[in-house]
Symmetry: C2
Subunit: 115 residues, 2 copies
DNA sequence: GCTTGACCTGGAGTTCACTCCAACTTGTAG
DNA sequence: CTACAAGTTGGAGTGAACTCCAGGTCAAGC
């Protein structure tokens, strides 16, 4: 699939896809004889996971690091697991913090309601 | 209290405090006869609330807007309430989304564990 | 065969939220 | 009185994550 179709299916702009390839978040995508990128289904799985990590606040540099480990094969699986476990812990903490902040905001809203 | 003490108590650097004043997130802070800013206790309450909004993903432009309404007195209370209610809804949605993402990340971790 | 739209590259520009700097003035401890 | 720490301003610089652009190639429909 070409970059336009891939952009449609992934919800990521073509410019951003090229940027992700450039910084190593996406593998070097193969080109067809005329130099156009040819994405495949596994790239869709990967970008979906990238978007999940991004949505939960992981910086692209860390995602790039994970991608690099991934490209090095099964030997790095332990390190990848540790990376995700650390991220999961951070995310759990952030959710807990967000809930406290939400309570604080609701308290302020109640203050306005009681006027 | 001067800017250094205020920075200590609020946990915000002096540079950032001056920046927040410049962009209107902080009111124009009064100066003493020698031109130094004099913060008061109510500024501490306000910056704590700003940090809460920021921590929950509100951009400084929106916080600035809230600050502006606040400076216009009680007439704008309804609009401020509506702003906070919208933000609370966004935050609730984001927490729900984060929990889904967290489940997805845990699924991936389990995949690594089952190797 | 020609136009139109999608693709390519390298690099410049943008936005956000700071962060740092130079040049200067003021406050405080010895 | 003298250091020197802390304050002032306006403006430049930074890092993250895009986003856009120029100048070119390539493929599909009329």
């Amino acid at each position: 699939m070409n970059i336009g179709q891939f952009a449609q299916r992934s919800g990521v702009s073509t410019d951003t896809l090229r940027y992700y390839e450039k910084i190593g978040v996406l593998r070097r995508i193969g080109r067809n004889p005329s130099g156009h990128r040819q994405f495949d289904a596994s790239d869709l799985d990967w970008i979906a996971f990238v978007l999940r990590l991004k949505a939960t606040g992981m910086p692209l540099a860390d995602i790039r690091r994970y991608a690099e480990l991934r490209s090095q094969g099964t030997a790095t699986a332990g390190e990848r697991q540790a990376l995700l476990e650390a991220h999961a812990r951070d995310l759990e903490a952030r959710i807990a913090e967000d809930r406290r902040h939400l309570a604080g905001i609701h308290a302020k809203i109640d203050f306005y309601k009681r006027r």
